[in-house]
């Protein structure tokens, strides 16, 4: 069900671990499934020098975490702020529909870390995907 890229990042996740003297840390829980990511950043002169993560989550959660760290290393914080969940999902050649919410996790952690670094309280609530209705009993349309 996962793309080769996802499986590659899941099997050999890049940048797993912690940064002891991190300049910014983003920790978020996915409101949809309860999975958790902690992202550590080392920032110098407005540029992300190093990034590491720890993730408790599904295959997609691990792969998106790994991909985010790759995408942001060497970027300025302005550039990094522009990375969205779609950027991450695309970089992994897509995610299965039921797993799209997983890409929120890494992107939210990134924004959360940078905002806290910039001294903004980042209580912008991570948003849950709501494209799918939860109740199985709600009438089902035929076009699935």
């Amino acid at each position: 069900m996962y793309s080769e890229k996802v499986m590659d990042h899941f099997n050999n996740p890049r940048n797993v671990g912690e940064i002891k003297d991190a300049d910014a840390i983003g920790k978020v829980g996915n409101p949809v499934c309860g999975d958790i990511i902690k992202l550590y950043l080392k920032i110098k002169n407005g540029r992300i020098e190093d990034a590491k993560f720890k993730t408790f989550g599904c295959g997609a959660a691990v792969a998106t975490s790994s991909m985010v760290t790759e995408l942001i290393k060497g970027k300025t914080i302005e550039e990094a702020m522009k990375i969205s969940k779609d950027t991450v999902a695309e970089a992994l050649d897509g995610l299965p529909p039921v797993k799209m919410h997983c890409s929120n996790l890494a992107a939210d952690a990134l924004h959360n870390a940078i905002n806290s670094y910039l001294g903004k309280s980042s209580e912008e609530e991570p948003q849950a995907e709501t494209e799918e209705s939860k109740g199985y009993l709600d009438s089902v349309s035929n076009d699935q």
């Binding site: 099997n11 996740p13 920790k27 999975d35 990511i37 720890k54 989550g57 691990v62 009993l137």
Partner: protein
């Protein structure tokens, strides 16, 4: 690469004898059992033989009490909706448990939502047992049906169906049990259990997919849920799935013969697996009871600090097929309702691994799993923000 299949509660391979028994009914005796010419009559006879074999496996007095369905889910739907519709003038209260299979839970919710039924969902204890007393307490004037599973598909708890049957029997209430995980694994006798309705499914005990049965005790009224021809004594319309039914019959026959030896062998592997995991990996919790109240083929653990899908993906890379929660829910994101009902916290419930054994598993399979699992769990824990090391 190794191929080790440890997901027999999801489905099992069709036994070679079963496949052989089915084949002629696909190619040679393909007649519709309702027709009168000989290839059709041959098919009709095979269906009736299969009915006898299924009846024998579950101790039914009369083979006419067996209604073939498309599987366990349909049998559950027919039992619950069928009884509810037949008895709704008498009352609209149904008692079930929080750890039923979704085929039962969602059917109950359907009756709640569309037909105004009132459902009591009984709690279970931390090993997943429904207490017979709680059933007795929940019974009301307007209760028409009690439906409690015989054995849980995720954590293997074997429920005290006989004790519950004795309570329900004192009232004018139907008693249904979803025995999909039990039939073919442990002895099942409808008279001893005092059930009026019992669901079973062929592919859980080396029969084919797409066929199952509902036992309906003589005199039990149900409203058919599929309308059409007069098949299955007007209880389930539609041309019989002859090859499937023949396969179910053969699987039932074999299951009956092997019941004891299989349970003994499989439970030995089960206990070896449980013991090995507990010895080799720390911070694990066994879900469900130990010993004789646990299905012989079921092992289910929570590994703290790690998430289930990640464990499965790692096992799959080594050729091991297992499951987390239950296969039916893997499309959804909620942690297992069963693990939450036995009191596991949300993150712990997320890290469950279910290994279910079958006749094709060997001692070496277990050794291999025990060899690779500790490393996988450690790798994932090292990656987990919840783990302090």
């Amino acid at each position: 690469m190794n191929k080790i299949y440890l997901d027999h509660a999801a489905t099992t391979p069709v036994a070679p004898e079963v496949f052989k028994a089915m084949e002629p009914y696909l190619t040679q005796f393909y007649g519709n059992p309702s027709s009168i010419y000989s290839i059709a009559q041959k098919a009709a006879m095979a269906v009736s033989e299969a009915r006898e074999k299924v009846a024998a496996l579950i101790g039914a007095d009369d083979e006419r009490e067996i209604i073939f369905t498309s599987g366990g889910t349909e049998a559950d739907n027919l039992a619950i909706k069928g009884a509810a519709m037949a008895l709704q003038n008498k009352g609209k209260h149904i008692i079930t448990s929080k750890i039923e299979h979704h085929a039962v839970l969602h059917t109950c919710e359907y009756l709640e939502k569309y037909l105004g039924f009132d459902i009591t969902y009984l709690d279970v204890d931390d090993e997943g047992f429904v207490s017979p007393e709680s059933v007795a307490e929940a019974i009301r004037e307007d209760t028409i049906l009690v439906t409690i599973m015989m054995a849980n598909n995720e954590i293997g708890t074997i429920e005290p169906i006989k004790e519950i049957g004795e309570i329900v029997e004192k009232h004018d209430i139907y008693f249904h049990t979803d025995a999909v995980q039990a039939v073919g694994q442990i002895p099942v006798d409808v008279n001893e259990l005092k059930v009026d309705l019992l669901s079973l499914s062929a592919h859980k005990f080396n029969g084919p997919k797409g066929v199952g049965a509902l036992y309906i005790r003589k005199g039990t009224r149900i409203v058919p849920q599929i309308s059409g021809g007069a098949q299955e004594r007007k209880r389930r319309a539609g041309t019989e799935n002859v090859p499937g039914i023949v396969g179910l019959g053969k699987a039932a026959e074999i299951a009956g013969e092997k019941l004891e030896s299989k349970a003994e062998e499989v439970s030995r592997l089960r206990d070896k697996l449980i013991q090995g995991i507990e010895e080799k990996i720390n911070e694990v919790v066994l879900n469900g009871p130990r010993g004789k109240d646990r299905l012989p083929n079921n092992v289910n653990f929570c590994f703290r600090y790690v998430e289930g899908e990640s464990i499965l993906l790692n096992l799959d890379m080594l050729g091991i097929a297992a499951s987390s929660g239950s296969a039916c829910t893997s499309g959804s994101l909620d942690p297992s309702h069963v693990l939450l009902a036995i009191g596991r916290p949300h993150e712990t419930a997320h890290g469950s691994l279910r290994l279910t054994l079958g006749l094709d598993n060997t001692e070496e399979d277990i050794d291999y799993l025990l060899e690779v699992l500790p490393g996988i769990i450690q790798k994932l824990r090292d990656m987990s923000p919840l783990y302090e090391g």
